[in-house]
């Protein structure tokens, strides 16, 4: 799913076997209690991904931040509420843990995503800036 759009296809490598770098990252994420990598399943098939990260922060009076990354839903079954269900789970999870805010970045070209997050209450208050280090 990460590779299954125009932006993702340029930066992911979906092949058998998957590059080992994915497995290494998975192990690191899995071992860290501040990270949760979740999938949505329908009939035993993985149809969505979401990476929830908790970030202790010195700003916001030392308030805990929650960040989501890698939110994807299978192209064939979008608009069925799977993305919203995953995000509502993440928001609930973040509230339970006492996070003060949830943050994410989304590419400027993903207009559907902007509307999706706005419907969930997110505000387009910031710019997301990236620097490639490769």
């Amino acid at each position: 799913m990460l590779a299954d759009d125009e932006l993702g296809s340029r930066r992911e490598k979906y092949e058998e076997p998957l590059p080992e770098s994915y497995a290494v990252a998975f192990e690191q994420i899995n071992a860290d209690p501040n990270h949760q990598l979740v999938v949505a399943e329908t009939d035993g098939r993985v149809v969505g991904t979401l990476h929830l990260i908790f970030l202790p922060s010195i700003s916001y009076q030392g308030g805990l931040r929650a960040q989501v990354e890698s939110v994807r839903v299978d192209k064939g079954i979008r608009n069925l509420g799977i993305g919203s269900e995953m995000m509502r789970w993440a928001i609930e999870c973040a509230r339970e843990r006492g996070a003060q805010l949830m943050q994410l970045t989304t590419h400027r070209s993903r207009e559907d995503a902007h509307r999706f997050y706005e419907r969930l209450g997110f505000q387009k208050s910031h710019l997301g800036m990236k620097l490639s280090l490769k």
Copy 2:
């Protein structure tokens, strides 16, 4: 410094003694090898802050991301290159650790900051969206 601008003054609490929440957050950040909280000093006085975070990620082929938060320079001595020096240190540090990209968000209203990060090579490719959980 976090409280010393229009946005910060609304969300920080700078008083003696500082709210305990700051100390609790500091301990958590300090104990996590994926977090580095650094300050810039001039003549023994703290004049800048930067919070560097390493995030293992399942996207970008499992590539490590570096994220910066809470970048601030003392109002009285801006434009002397202290911010650039801190950022260059962070970028170097992220490269050494093998991070594939560095990411940050900055409020839409901070136009000086946008130019500052663009000069360092950052691209305004994303929107940063926030949801208050309070």
